[in-house]
C-alpha cells in the first residue's frame, strides 16, 4: 500500500458575544422561550430593513488583527440564497466578494514543532434559526431566536496534514477569541462549530485529491475521530479502485462513522449577489490602528511572561493561560498580594480541585479573583492558617461571601496571642502526663504529638508557630 497524506481545510463559525443580533435590536441571549427574541427584521417580514451592528465590525476587526489578517477597507454584504425553513428571508446575509479579513495566519504548536496555518478569509454573517422535529404532529417546529445572531466564519487554507494540527489550531482559535472577548467558543453549546474539508493523496503528489466536507461536528474529540475515520474511508476506497465523490457527509458521533447527506441537501448553488439593503462599510486606517493598539496580551505571550517574570513552572503557566477565567483570577489575586507563586499554587491545588469537585470546567467557572487575593493575604498575615484559608475558599466558591467577614463571623481567626493560648496548652500538658514525661526523658517525637493535641484543643485556629513557642516554653519550665 502506498503512503497517503491528508489535506485538511477548516471552516469555523464563532458566535459573537454581542448584546444584539447583527442586523436588528433583538437580544442574542441564549435559552429564551421560542420566538421571543424575534422582530420583523430577523423574521424576514417584507419591507423591513437591516441595520448593521457596530460591535460586530469591531469584533471582526479584532479577530482579524489577532489572526494576522489584512483588513478589507471597503466592505459589502451579499445575499446567499437558499430555501430552508430555518431561514425566513430565504437568504442569509453574508460576505462573499469582500470579506472583512484576508490573508492571515496562526502559528500552532504540534509535536513536530511550530507550524503556520494560513487563514484564507474571515467574513461576517448571520446565524439561522433552529428546527426541531415534532413527533406528535410529524411536522417541523421552527424557532427564530438564533436567527440573525452574528457569526464570524473563519476559513483556513488547506494547510493541515493531521488531526493533531487541527486540534492545536482550534484550541488556539478558541483561546484567541476568548482572550479578545469576542466569542466564548463553546463547542458543546454551539457557539463554535467546525466544518472539515478533507482529502487524501499519495505522499509526493502535488495535486489535491477529491475532498469531502463534514459539517458541524460538536467537540474536539469528535473532530479527531471523524478525521481519522474519513481518512481511512477515503484511502480504503482508493486502494479498492474506487473514487472519492465530492459530497457533504455527516459524522455520527455514537456510531462513529460518516455518511453522505441526501443529494438534494447537497445542491449548492446559492446565486450570491450584493445585498442592496445594506450600505457599503468603509473601515479607516485610524479605526484599525486604534483597535490594533488595544489588543490584549494573548495566551502564548502571557505564558512566557508568567514563567520569566513571575517564575511560575511551565506547566502551571500553561494551565492558567489555558482559560481566561483562571487568567483573571491569577492576575487579580497577584495584583492584590504581590505573591504570584502563592497565587499560582492556590489555583493549581485548591481552585482547580474545587472546579473538579463541583463539576465545573475551569473556563465556565464564575469566581472572583479578589476573594482568592483576600484569602491569601489573610493567610500570609497569619490571621488564619492555610487549612482555614482552604475552607473559606471552598465556601467562597459556591457562595457570594466576603472572606474577612466570614472568618470574623464564624470565629475562624487564628489565635497567635501567646497569652490566649497558654492556658489551653497548659491543660493539654496536664491531660497527657505520659507523653510529657517521655518527652522530658528524651523522646523528641512526643513533641509533635503534643503540638497536634494542642492544635486540636485550639480547634485549629492557632498559629502553629505560636503553639510551638508556648509549648517549648512550658516544657522547659517542667525540666
Amino acid at each position: 500500500m502506498k503512503d497517503y497524506e491528508m489535506v485538511i481545510g477548516l471552516e469555523v463559525h464563532c458566535e459573537l458575544q454581542t448584546a444584539t443580533k447583527i442586523f436588528c435590536g433583538c437580544s442574542t441571549k441564549f435559552g429564551g422561550a421560542p420566538n421571543t427574541h424575534v422582530c420583523e427584521v430577523c423574521s424576514g417580514m417584507p419591507g423591513t430593513l437591516p441595520t448593521l451592528n457596530k460591535k460586530v465590525v469591531e469584533f471582526a476587526v479584532k479577530a482579524g488583527l489577532a489572526l494576522n489578517c489584512d483588513i478589507t477597507r471597503k466592505n459589502k454584504f451579499d445575499r446567499k440564497n437558499y430555501f430552508y425553513p430555518d431561514l425566513p428571508k430565504a437568504y442569509q446575509i453574508s460576505q462573499l466578494y469582500f470579506p472583512i479579513c484576508r490573508n492571515g495566519h496562526v502559528d500552532v504548536k504540534t509535536s513536530e514543532g511550530m507550524k503556520s496555518i494560513g487563514i484564507h478569509e474571515i467574513h461576517m454573517e448571520e446565524d439561522a434559526g433552529k428546527l426541531v422535529h415534532d413527533p406528535v404532529t410529524g411536522m417541523t417546529m421552527v424557532d427564530f431566536n438564533r436567527c440573525g445572531v452574528p457569526l464570524l466564519e473563519i476559513v483556513s487554507e488547506p494547510d493541515f496534514r493531521s488531526a493533531e494540527e487541527v486540534i492545536a489550531y482550534l484550541t488556539k482559535l478558541r483561546d484567541t477569541m476568548q482572550y479578545l472577548g469576542v466569542s466564548d467558543c463553546k463547542m458543546q453549546e454551539g457557539s463554535m462549530r467546525a466544518d472539515v474539508n478533507l482529502s487524501v493523496r499519495p505522499v509526493g503528489q502535488k495535486e489535491f485529491g477529491t475532498r469531502t466536507e463534514m459539517k458541524n461536528i460538536a467537540s474536539f474529540k469528535a473532530i479527531e475521530r471523524a478525521i481519522e475515520y474519513e481518512r481511512d474511508r477515503q484511502i480504503d476506497l482508493i486502494e479498492e479502485g474506487g473514487t472519492v465523490v465530492q459530497e457533504t457527509r455527516r459524522w455520527d458521533d455514537e456510531k462513529e462513522y460518516t455518511y453522505a447527506m441526501r443529494s438534494k441537501e447537497n445542491a449548492q448553488d446559492y446565486k450570491y449577489f450584493p445585498d442592496p439593503d445594506l450600505m457599503p462599510l468603509e473601515i479607516s486606517e485610524e479605526y484599525i490602528e486604534n483597535i490594533r493598539a488595544n489588543l490584549p496580551e494573548f495566551a502564548d505571550a502571557k505564558r512566557e511572561r508568567y514563567v520569566s517574570q513571575f517564575g511560575l513552572p511551565e506547566y502551571d503557566a500553561e494551565i492558567i493561560t489555558g482559560a481566561t477565567t483562571l487568567v483573571d483570577v491569577f492576575e487579580t489575586a497577584t495584583e492584590m498580594t504581590d505573591q504570584p507563586k502563592d497565587v499560582s499554587n492556590w489555583i493549581m491545588t485548591d481552585l482547580l480541585k474545587l472546579c473538579k469537585d463541583n463539576h465545573v470546567a475551569a473556563e465556565d467557572m464564575e469566581f472572583d479573583g479578589k476573594k482568592l487575593g483576600a484569602i491569601i493575604n489573610l493567610v500570609n498575615e497569619g490571621k488564619v492558617n492555610r487549612k482555614t484559608g482552604r475552607q473559606v475558599l471552598e465556601k467562597c466558591f459556591t457562595e457570594d461571601i466576603d472572606p474577612a467577614e466570614y472568618i470574623e463571623k464564624n470565629g475562624l481567626a487564628q489565635v497567635s496571642d501567646t497569652s490566649a493560648i497558654e492556658p489551653v496548652i497548659k491543660q493539654v500538658l496536664d491531660e497527657n502526663p505520659k507523653p510529657v514525661s517521655e518527652f522530658l526523658a528524651g523522646s523528641e517525637k512526643n513533641f509533635q504529638f503534643l503540638v497536634g493535641q494542642s492544635m486540636r484543643a485550639l480547634r485549629g485556629k492557632a498559629d502553629p508557630q505560636a503553639v510551638r513557642t508556648v509549648l517549648t516554653k512550658l516544657l522547659d519550665e517542667m525540666r
Partner: protein, 95 residues
C-alpha cells in the same frame, strides 16, 4: 445567457416551488426580457467609469449594540399558518 426551459426548472428546484406548464412558459419569457434589458445596459461604454458599490451613495450606516426589542412572540406568530408551543409549524424537513 439563454433562458432555457431546463434553467427555469432548475430555478424551481432551487426555490422549492412548482410552476404549471403555462407559468413556466411565462417565466421563461419574463426572465429573458429582464436579462435582455440588462444586456442593453451592457452596451454602454463604461471605460474609465469607477464602479459604484451602491446606488444610494451612503456608507457606514450602523447602530449601537443595544437591545431595543422586547418579546414580540405574539406578533411574530400571528402570520404563521400553524403554531405549536411558541414555534412555527412547517412541513417536515428531516429524513
Amino acid at each position: 445567457m439563454e433562458i432555457t426551459q431546463d434553467l427555469v426548472r432548475y430555478l424551481e428546484a432551487l426555490g422549492r416551488i412548482e410552476l404549471s406548464p403555462e407559468e413556466e412558459v411565462k417565466t421563461q419569457k419574463d426572465l429573458a426580457d429582464i436579462l435582455g434589458y440588462i444586456d442593453k445596459l451592457g452596451e454602454l461604454d463604461t471605460a474609465g467609469v469607477e464602479p459604484l458599490s451602491h446606488a444610494a451613495g451612503r456608507t457606514n450606516i450602523t447602530r449601537e449594540d443595544v437591545v431595543i426589542n422586547g418579546d414580540m412572540q405574539e406578533q411574530v406568530l400571528s402570520n404563521a399558518p400553524e403554531t405549536k408551543d411558541g414555534t412555527i409549524l412547517v412541513p417536515r424537513t428531516f429524513d
